[in-house]
Symmetry: C2
Subunit: 150 residues, 2 copies
């Protein structure tokens, strides 16, 4: 098994990232892997925002994982900067390999490097395996996550 | 009762915002309203980030509410931009006046204006009154919110 590289996503990674977003019980309802046109402009907005870190994990030239790390300054907690992890996906072929742990530990280390004092994320209430995963990685399920569609 | 104004926060609002952050069972443990030195640099980071909207509600020249709205582009959900609401506070004298509702409805309208397709927030599991408040405002408690201190 080749070396794992975790690096910033580039535009050429969009098809592989979208395929992973769609290959998921929730994502299958929400993504359009056969029509990538909405994703290009969104990638550009991410690329132009210095507080956005869309990231991929690559092995032997193949994109096998992704997450989005957002750095959020704020006044709360004595002016603490925090980070938010969104859109974590591991390719179906790689599940159970420890790649998810490597991705999250990378995001935690990168958050620390960027001066964050807190890392947070939300996980759909139906993803109970993911909840155990995050608790094993030192996260506390202290909050309720609310969403409203516009 | 004078007119309510909801506007971007300026540096002069920092003491009033921090006083509200601290006047709260959780915030009292985390803030330093008698030492504002950590908050100035954090305010500058917020002010320089076009995706950050630190906001205050003002009546008769007095800051009586605050929230932080963050706009987050992303690939998920066909490239949907989302917003996150953090650090919502209403001055103790104004609770029960409907100001919280006005602030959140402002944040929802502003998110829509900024092209967001989703608004999300997390609320500490202990804040059960807040949970009912957000559900009345059309939010769904669909997620579990995880945090890890660094």
């Amino acid at each position: 098994m080749g070396d794992l590289e975790i690096r910033p996503a580039v535009a050429e990674d969009i098809p592989a990232i979208v395929a992973m977003l769609a290959d998921d019980p929730l994502g299958a309802q929400r993504e359009s892997p056969d029509d990538l046109s909405p994703y290009g402009p969104a990638f550009e907005r991410l690329a132009q925002d210095p507080n956005q870190h869309l990231t991929v994990a690559v092995r032997e030239g193949r994109v096998i994982g992704t997450l989005q790390l957002t750095v959020i300054p704020g006044l709360s907690r004595k002016g603490a900067t925090r980070s938010i992890i969104e859109a974590v996906r591991v390719h179906a072929d790689e599940r159970g390999s420890g790649l998810g742990t490597q991705l999250i530990e990378w995001a935690v280390a990168e958050s620390r490097r960027l001066g964050c004092h807190l890392v947070q994320l939300t996980s759909d209430a139906s993803r109970t395996d993911a909840h155990r995963f995050y608790e094993r990685l030192g996260f506390t399920a202290s909050h309720v996550g609310f969403k409203r569609q516009l």
